[in-house]
Subunit: 186 residues, 3 copies
């Protein structure tokens, strides 16, 4: 099957179950932004994979990121399912618990913060900061969609995921010797 | 001539032919997003250029990306031209045909898909996925602008370009030994 | 203190001084986008830091980028402060003067332009182009917020910052041997 169908050339597209909507629909905006966040997480992962520097648990860290990429398809699936239809890949409370547990594990190994830090450091760390901010953009759009998703875990998941990516960014810096700059306002 | 003119410091700017509009105008949003997509394509190209790994037709691949970057200025030019004025760099059907032919050429060399893949792999591949998702954001904004561009190829071009970048991302992974992960939902 | 508080799981959050607003509020959109731009600047800096190629004034260049990252927190602070409250980290005219002086210093060392260039070149240069376009996105949102920020330097600063990043991108290419492609429309 060809990847291009030309069926969206007039500006409409279909949700899961087939309903046609404008590409400018808030649902499309929402899962499109998850796709964008997902790609930036994949980019961060690619930098770590291809980095010559090795560290213990590097493979575990990469598996973590792939896990998060996978769960983002659950998020997208909720956003792409019309309100009155059953969600096929439903987000569960456990997906959020997973994130919290991992945040706690990483956080223990990091110096405590009492200030903002400059989003920077190693390339992989900075890419995780970029991903963090795109996830937050997705969260803002999800909030605009909120009424139609009321009983779901989408907003909580995205909220927690941005904290997870913040801690992941710091963790990479600490593990691989990236510098962390605290914000200094004159 | 200085690059900064300070003339936009109050929040307005000019389209082609000089008409002043708010920087918050949908047209500015549209070509500004094409500029953002263009930059990410340039970033992917820069990773390939500077990669020590060489592959046959690497230079050809880079020329392809520069071609697409150039055509995005046609797209921007349509978006920046007021409805009643002549577009100076007009997008043509041939620009879309070009994309389809290249997609077909690359696709032949790729394993068929029956599932989503995680946007990841080599850094250049992941950057192409990022560019793909930004092009899709530009497409969504173009749809909001649709009435004013009715007879143009802008939406079709952006629609096809995102498929092109998807295939390009996969192609780089295959050519240079990046790993492709199929989505696995438990 | 834990980084995740769960208090934003229902879709609201707080500004400076504590007022609760929807995460979909235009102010949150505005400083969230500055955060995104900031992360991309940090990413460009990380590529320069970790590049094996050394050039004179590389450390100075990096300090410049950190300076800009810091000032973006002033911008964010203005955006996150309710209209009737005092801004704690106020943006000053001097912050814009700084940018203009640096643009002039760099520009002197660059070939004059009479055409668009493809946003590309070295990875750090292309990343600065990406950052430039995200800053322009932040500027567009700031314009939508304009009435509430009327007496501030936010729009001027973001306007100038995008020109600064354009020149910085070109400067990196020139200093480190990246290629610059002028736009060629057939
Ligand atoms: C929502 C959606 C998305 C979301 C993601 C979904 C999510 N859950 O988060 C996003 C925005 C990320 C997306 C992206 C893309 N998508 Co999409 N997407 C859909 C849509 C509307 C629903 C899919 C879904 O989630 N189904 C839920 C599950 C439970 O149901 P399912 O149908 O069994 O899902 C299976 C297949 O649909 C899919 N699949 C089967 N064959 C193929 C072939 C390809 C090439 C791909 C990518 C997927 C795919 O794999 C799923 C099994 O895991 C379908 C169209 C439709 N109405 O069904 C298109 C669809 C699957 N997408 C398609 C395409 C082309 C893409 C993109 C390549 C577009 C682009 N240029 O960026 C990318 C690929 C991204 C990637 N990483 O692989 C095409 C595939 C055409 C084909 N068979 O070759 C479809 C059929 C739309 C169409 N054009 O008609 N998509
Ligand atoms: C639309 C537009 C854009 C679009 C792209 C256009 C497209 N077709 O997709 C986008 C958003 C990408 C853009 C970006 C920028 N732009 Co612009 N853009 C315009 C605008 C409104 C129309 C240009 C156009 O497409 N004309 C269509 C062609 C057919 O007509 P043309 O006038 O003959 O076009 C030629 C020149 O305008 C241009 N050119 C001539 N001298 C210079 C000098 C510089 C520094 C640049 C970048 C271009 C440039 O080259 C074209 C020939 O190929 C003009 C202002 C105006 N009203 O004309 C500004 C203008 C050309 N842009 C300008 C600037 C500064 C920029 C940016 C540096 C801003 C930034 N900080 O990001 C970037 C540079 C991007 C790059 N890659 O080089 C300035 C140039 C000032 C100068 N002479 O030094 C102008 C004149 C606006 C102004 N401030 O008054 N821009
Ligand atoms: C606006 C804002 C932002 C803006 C930036 C602000 C700007 N000026 O541009 C943006 C969007 C960038 C941001 C991002 C983040 N923020 Co914030 N932010 C705020 C907010 C609303 C105001 C902060 C501010 O600018 N104050 C102005 C100065 C003058 O006042 P101040 O209060 O003395 O500011 C000091 C502290 O607030 C801060 N600080 C103190 N302890 C900690 C701990 C952490 C972990 C961090 C990040 C900051 C921090 O350092 C400042 C001194 O320089 C506060 C909540 C609030 N209502 O106060 C949250 C707050 C500081 N942010 C918080 C968090 C968690 C984050 C993020 C990690 C979220 C994420 N996942 O991305 C990131 C971190 C970014 C980074 N680079 O470090 C938490 C910190 C919780 C904690 N103590 O552990 C707070 C308290 C919100 C909350 N959850 O209750 N934020
Ligand atoms: C750290 C601060 O960031 C703001 N905040 C909370 N959620 C988001 C989001 N999705 N996008 C941007 N900003 C957000 C709040 O003001 C919070 O206090
Ligand atoms: C692959 C799926 O992505 C959705 N889709 C189509 N065009 C866009 C776009 N510009 N942005 C985001 N999502 C889009 C449709 O639902 C399509 O079926
Ligand atoms: C170079 C051209 O870019 C447009 N322009 C000015 N400011 C912005 C912005 N924030 N975002 C996108 N485009 C902008 C104007 O049309 C200007 O002339
Ligand atoms: Mg949060
Ligand atoms: Mg499409
Ligand atoms: Mg400007």
């Amino acid at each position: 099957m060809r990847i291009y169908t030309r069926s969206g050339d007039k500006g409409t597209t279909s949700l899961i179950y087939g309903e046609r909507v404008s590409k400018n629909d808030i649902r499309v905006e929402a899962y499109g932004t998850c796709d964008e966040a997902n790609s930036m997480i994949g980019f961060a992962a690619s930098l770590i994979t291809n980095d010559t520097v090795d560290w213990d648990d590097k493979e575990e860290f990469l598996q973590e990121l792939r896990r998060v990429q996978t769960v983002l398809f659950h998020v997208g699936s909720e956003m792409a399912t019309p309100t009155d239809k059953e969600v096929k890949w439903k987000l569960k409370k456990e997906h959020i618990d997973e994130l919290e547990e991992q945040i706690d594990r990483w956080d223990q190994q990091l110096p405590e913060l009492t200030n903002f830090i400059l989003p920077a450091g190693l390339p992989a760390s900075a890419a995780l900061h970029s991903a963090r901010t795109i996830v937050r953009r997705a969260e803002r759009i999800a909030v605009a969609l909120q009424e139609e998703l009321e009983t779901s875990f989408v907003i909580s998941y995205l909220n927690r995921l941005s904290d997870y990516l913040f801690v992941a960014a710091r963790f990479v810096n600490v593990k691989c010797g990236g510098e962390e700059f605290a914000l200094e306002i004159e």
